[in-house]
């Protein structure tokens, strides 16, 4: 029995199809990431699953419950950090944890939770004086007060510096080792690659690709490419004298390697061209390349708050 099951989920805001018929499931203990530009429908999806937003059409179950109608029971078993997590200004993290635990009727050990999210140093600082990373870690700790089976993290590292981001990642990895199911939305490819067992790429309310990052790369990527830094005549030479598929942007030449033999042909041709060249690399499409291909450059600057 999967922890999360979504079938044909739709949600409209007026004429806007925020979520447009998506289906996926998340196994227990899995880290699943919804990846997409701003406005893709990630937050709407995750909020429907959290029981914070009513779905339009389709079926959604989390831990075998309908999130909206069984929210009261479900919320005792899930942990959530909303996007752009904020809290009351004055409690310290320690006080916040005791307070939030009390709302669940649980007596929590704040120091233990703070240790788990690596926030012991800031235990007694007012929330309003915490840094972005510290706030986010407190959000993580709060989502754990009820020992949840499923944790929903909506863009947990947006706006954090690289160091703080890595600290949050560390906490997410721990959640996985503890056997919790984690659903993570992000618009950072690196984050999805680092943390997720499986990724679904969303755009305009639809899932455009889903699988492990390797699966997505090999399915949607363009295979291996040889990239050579070269100015001037190399591109022209290759186009005129070989049957290789080549592209160039002035500073570098990209040769598409359709099979292994292409690599030798390319190397020979480069040598014969007599052109000045350097920094030869062979790589395959990264998740980023696939993402940009599927979502398009315009997706990277989409509007906030889907």
């Amino acid at each position: 029995m999967p922890a999360i099951e979504v079938e044909g989920l739709k949600k409209n805001y007026g004429d806007l199809h925020a979520v447009d018929g998506i289906s996926f499931s998340v196994e227990k203990g899995e880290v699943f990431s919804l990846l997409g530009p701003n406005g893709a429908g990630k937050t709407t999806t995750i909020e429907v699953l959290e029981g914070l937003r009513q779905k339009g059409e389709g079926t959604t179950t989390v831990l075998d419950m309908d999130p909206w109608s069984k929210g009261y029971d479900l919320h005792k078993r899930i942990g959530v950090i909303p996007q752009g997590f904020k809290f009351l200004d004055y409690p310290t993290p320690r006080e916040a944890l005791v307070y939030y635990g009390a709302l669940f009727g649980k007596k929590v050990d704040p120091d233990e939770l703070l240790r788990r999210v690596i926030l012991e140093d800031a235990a007694n600082i007012w929330f309003q004086h915490l840094s972005g990373g510290q706030r986010q870690k407190l959000g993580m700790a709060l989502s754990l007060v009820n020992d949840p089976e499923v944790v929903f993290l909506d863009e947990p590292t947006t706006g954090l510096d690289p160091q703080a981001r890595r600290a949050v990642w560390e906490v997410i990895r721990k959640l996985k080792t503890e056997g919790r199911t984690v659903m993570l939305t992000t618009h950072y490819l690196e984050e999805a690659e680092e943390l997720a067992d499986r990724v679904a790429i969303m755009n305009h309310g639809k899932i455009v690709a889903m699988g492990t990052t390797e699966e997505i790369e090999s399915k949607y990527g363009s295979g291996q490419r040889m990239i050579v830094k070269s100015k001037g005549s190399l591109l022209k030479y290759l186009k005129e004298n070989t049957k290789l598929e080549v592209e160039g942007d002035g500073g570098s030449v990209t040769i598409i390697l359709r099979d292994k033999a292409d690599a030798f042909v390319a190397l020979g041709a480069i040598q014969e061209s007599g052109a000045d060249w350097g920094d030869l690399t062979i790589r395959r499409d990264s998740l980023e390349d696939v993402f940009l291909k599927l979502v398009g450059e315009e997706g990277r600057s989409g509007r906030e708050g889907e």
Partner: protein, 358 residues
């Protein structure tokens, strides 16, 4: 500099809050205070009259009192204990025409009309002044022109009331209004913006419990402000306060109502900015027109009419009745009314205030 001025002016005009405080609010204030202190059309003073005489002169005297537009006469039957009657109606203004008034006047014998009043109150001064004028007119009309009718002044109750006596319940009402209103209007809109309600909705806490916790807090703060103001009122200004359980009713029902109202206002507004504007529109008229700083009776009639539709008026009126006069009859009405509107407001606030979104 002009560019800076322009951008600032535009910013102020675009922000509804800025607009309200910059332009609309001063207008409201000047209208309010202008109306209160112009006093030109202040309503008639209610005065209780007990005519113990049956003769023609006392009837003529009553007629003369009635003919002035400044007084509104309320007849008290002869059998009533007059001072008790005044006290039970939370009034200090009364006139008693003694038995044998007519015959004494005709016989040119000395006779006194008794005027009850509060020496410090303007309404009492009006009643006393008008009565003396009428008495003078009667004396001139009398057979000999001798001054046979006199006026004896009495203070209505054992102790006379001072402004501070009315200010203490007024300010207790004021604090029961302002702190919960401003706080809840702000909380209800910013918590929604900051998704703190979402966070709370993920816990087993219910909306009713959340709102009740705020009500309890503000009952506490209102009680504390009552204690502080009573101490200052009594020891610094010599206020007369009767401590009784009736005060407790108002210290509970007041915050209950205003927390619910603040929540309702914040809930139906779209943004923290518009919530603040709506909140101020609801709060400020109540703050000034419900008898917080000035007795409602001193206001022009049309403002008194407005006061009577403001919930805070009933809290302050009730508090004044129990704290100053120890007069529970009218206070029960005030509490009853507040209970009904509080229950409705609370229900509406819980109904419209949503943790989650559709």
């Amino acid at each position: 500099m002009l560019a800076e001025l322009g951008v600032y002016a535009r910013g102020n005009l675009r922000s509804r809050e800025g607009f309200f405080f910059t332009l609309v609010f001063p207008i409201i204030l000047i209208l309010l205070f202008g109306a209160i202190f112009s006093g030109g059309s202040s309503g008639p003073t209610t005065v209780y009259v007990q005519n113990l005489d049956t003769g023609p002169t006392s009837s003529a005297f009553m007629g003369a009192l009635n003919s002035t537009t400044a007084l509104r006469l309320v007849s008290v039957t002869a059998g009533q204990n007059f001072t008790q009657y005044l006290s039970s109606h939370s009034s200090t203004d009364g006139i008693v025409i003694p038995q044998g008034f007519s015959s004494a006047f005709i016989a040119n014998q000395k006779v006194n009309v008794t005027v009850y009043g509060n020496p410090t109150s303007t309404s009492s001064a009006i009643v006393s002044g008008i009565t003396r004028e009428i008495v003078n007119a009667f004396n001139l009309r009398g057979a000999s022109g001798a001054h046979s009718v006199g006026v004896s002044a009495h203070t209505a109750v054992s102790s006379s009331y001072k402004y501070i006596d009315f200010l203490v319940p007024g300010l207790v009402g004021f604090s029961a209004l302002t702190s919960p209103m401003f706080a809840l209007v702000n909380i209800s809109s910013t918590y929604r913006r900051d998704k703190i309600f979402k966070l709370l909705s993920l816990t087993p806490l219910t909306k009713t419990e959340w709102l009740m916790s705020k009500i309890i807090w503000y009952i506490g703060t209102t009680a504390i402000s009552f204690i502080l103001m009573s101490i200052v009122g009594i020891y610094a200004f010599g206020a007369h306060i009767t401590f009784n359980w009736g005060i407790g009713m108002f210290l509970i029902i007041g915050p209950f109502f205003f927390v619910s109202l603040g929540m309702l206002v914040g809930t139906i507004s779209n943004s923290p900015e518009s919530a603040a504007v709506v909140g101020n529109l609801v709060t400020f008229p109540m703050m000034f027109l419900s008898g917080t700083f000035f007795p409602v009776a001193a206001m022009p009639m049309y403002l008194q009419g407005i006061a009577h539709v403001l919930p805070l008026f009933y809290m302050i009126d009730g508090l004044t009745n129990v704290m100053i006069y120890g007069n529970f009859g009218p206070a029960y009405f005030d509490v009853g009314l507040l209970l009904v509107i509080s229950a409705v407001t609370f229900a509406l606030a819980v109904r419209f205030f949503r943790w989650r979104e559709d």
